[in-house]
Chain length 361, copies 3
Amino acid sequence: MKATVAELAARIGGTVVGDAAQSVTGFAGLSEANAGDISFLANPKYAPLLVSTKATAVLVNAAQTDALVTQIVVKSADFAFAMLMSVYGPQPVPPPAGIHPSAVIGERVQFGADVAIGPFVVIGDGAVIGARTVLYPQVVIGAEATLGDDNVLYPHVTVRERCVLGHRVILQPGAVIGSDGFGYATVEGVHHKIPQVGTVVIEDDVEIGANTAIDRARLAATRIGRGAKLDNLVQIAHNVEVGAGGLIAAQAGIAGSTKLGKFVTLAGQCGISGHLTIGDQVVITGQAGVSKDFGARAVVRGSPAMEFKTAQRNEIAVRRLPETQATVKELRARVAELERKLDALLAEKQAEKSAARPAGA
Amino acid sequence: MKATVAELAARIGGTVVGDAAQSVTGFAGLSEANAGDISFLANPKYAPLLVSTKATAVLVNAAQTDALVTQIVVKSADFAFAMLMSVYGPQPVPPPAGIHPSAVIGERVQFGADVAIGPFVVIGDGAVIGARTVLYPQVVIGAEATLGDDNVLYPHVTVRERCVLGHRVILQPGAVIGSDGFGYATVEGVHHKIPQVGTVVIEDDVEIGANTAIDRARLAATRIGRGAKLDNLVQIAHNVEVGAGGLIAAQAGIAGSTKLGKFVTLAGQCGISGHLTIGDQVVITGQAGVSKDFGARAVVRGSPAMEFKTAQRNEIAVRRLPETQATVKELRARVAELERKLDALLAEKQAEKSAARPAGA
Amino acid sequence: MKATVAELAARIGGTVVGDAAQSVTGFAGLSEANAGDISFLANPKYAPLLVSTKATAVLVNAAQTDALVTQIVVKSADFAFAMLMSVYGPQPVPPPAGIHPSAVIGERVQFGADVAIGPFVVIGDGAVIGARTVLYPQVVIGAEATLGDDNVLYPHVTVRERCVLGHRVILQPGAVIGSDGFGYATVEGVHHKIPQVGTVVIEDDVEIGANTAIDRARLAATRIGRGAKLDNLVQIAHNVEVGAGGLIAAQAGIAGSTKLGKFVTLAGQCGISGHLTIGDQVVITGQAGVSKDFGARAVVRGSPAMEFKTAQRNEIAVRRLPETQATVKELRARVAELERKLDALLAEKQAEKSAARPAGA
């Protein structure tokens, strides 16, 4: 990479505050940057680094007056940095275009233009592979599966039979699409496997993380909506539906037949029980355990999960609980003391009354 | 598929309530069904759909009087539907029978009759592959491993050296059998690897989910009992024993040397510490964290896990805690007020007594 | 194996208590051992087995006076047993030395001496494979990745482009090194992928479990420090740093940019939020959810995680909470009764005063 600050700013529609003529030769985070690097400030937690960074220029969402470094002011520093990197940065190394001679291609497989099929890829009968789609080494595509255009499937991905992927889908290494759902009918102590003959439908612009597993539906389809992004080691059970734009962090899990609305966010290691409905834009925090429906825009926390404010109020209450219990203990003693004193007083009064009453009354 | 309601009912021993002469051509869930489909009602939550479904017939556990659709009454609608699907439904597409020429087969490997070995499968020296067992593309079987009859191993499964699988075992894509247990002896700040030279024994009729990992024992064997079913992304540490008929949902984990009795159920994302004993038919709920033994038929919940009723009682208590703390605060004020009034009264009384006493007494 | 107790003791610097002339022919746990086996006692929970074991000799940390079996006293029974097993025990079966003819090797790949490259391995252009390193079948090494000496990569491991592994690194089956970090810039409802062009650096003597995923950095490197050991199904997000000697149990997860000090221990299923700093020798217990920094040597528990003693105190308080609430209810009644009695008394007193006062006063 070799560009001036001015050229970079022009490409992302940014405004330069500082010396626009400097040369930029690399990308780096604020702490690691050296002279020649461009960096970015997205998380305000790191704002103090604007004073100490050695970067030549920094993308910012708003100009910082105390910064010593040249700034490029943009709407989203994160996004602008990503745009510059996708143009000027290093690129992953796909298999060479064309079909590697070692690949095993079934019958009636259809290829779009310019596919890149790596060594030891196996594609089942009747599968469809869209234009410019890249299959890294050892990807396995089942019979009659359909992949759209511009997909990237990294090594050791499995897409089982009849699953359907849209366009621009990215599957990180080891992701499994279309494994059998976990369904058994238990009769007299024997778990009989329930055939899982549905599929998985992954819509356009979805990314799936490493070693994530998405089960095929019992019937119909498990569905991952357009633009959703799933992190590593996520579990999606049979017949789940993830709405468009969902963000699902690592090690989260969704049990069977649960439906998520649009733009739902699941933080890491949270879990959602089966047969639930979660509204649009719901946010489920880390390790939360959701066992009931939540409506649109709810923010939920805890296990069992409840509205964020309620959960937080309860957590604060628990932190004060030992003190509360000490107070209760103290109050019990004080109440007993009050009872003792009052009873003595009443007894004394009673005695006085008896004494004041004429004898024999 | 093309059968009458009467034919289907006969095959599963069901009783028709409605028009037995209708033709059935497909399978579907109650909501998605169209005319010609057969469906089922297993979860009573969905009973209202019996009125609105477009299915031609529905399998039910008990006839619903208000249903508008033809019903087939059976003992287990789930199981009966599964039976019909396994006969009439679509089937997965195994590799063609025989050994694909690209497979790499070690020395002294024994094959039963009619195996199907897919492309790029690797089988180590001295392994045994039972009759009719199917190895999908890119399965790796280690040296001296033994697989029984009628197994199905999906793509990218690894079975490491010397592990033993019974009959009718199913391994979903990416499952790992026989990885080294997590064992180190730490001496002067260095973690020395403890050799893990035991194996994994998987008994008959077990199914293991996608990307689940089962570690080999340090010595002897990690064991998965007959008929147990494990979901995706489950962790089974070295020397664990899962009893017969166990059901382990996704992302659950069991630490080293823990023994589960028969027909234990682990819900999603629960964890069990090492060196514990869990009795027969114990149920561990979602995200529970078990750190002590539980006897037969216990139902446990929470992290740390305790008996379900105790855990639930505590959860309810916590939900009422903010109110309890408000009450305690109020009581403290009322007790202080009582103390003030009573002290005043006693002081007044004391004063009266003093006044009533003759001067100089 | 065939050795006397004396020979084994000599090799590990142990002291024999009992008959040193006996022959040892195998290894086993205390419960499973038969005559001829050597066993070990590491976890004091199993000390009673020293009386009942059929082993010929047992490694112990301190001689047990009531043991009936020959003992070999060593500093660490665990470590000594491991040493004996690595010398006398069964060994895993690596692919034969040399490069299997089916492997696909890119351009400019450098091999050290005596590598063992299994069937269907794929190595990208410009990669470096150190001396004596073993790649089991179907390992994929990306372009320009560097592996040190004496590494062992089990089947279906993926190491993506440009990642760097030190010496003596072990990767269990299905581990993924260098998947893209989970990073998106959301602009007007669209999640734009942020290029993840950093790498993963794994230092010497690290072991990584089955199906564990370690994401490459956005820039710079995700780093696993020397001698750290990671169990199965662990999630390491982009730009995380695990310090030297870390121990990370199964299904634990660390979110982006968090830094762990040296010798940090993470128990199973715990999670750490992003952008945190965790000090040296911190211990995080099972299922804990860490959402703030902790200094050196902290032991933390719970979700949200807090100091162990505080968390435990709160847990005990919650277990007593239903009883506390009963006490509060009882106190409220007693306070009301006190108020009633005292008010009555005061009213009576007031009445007496009024009566005692002259009429019309």
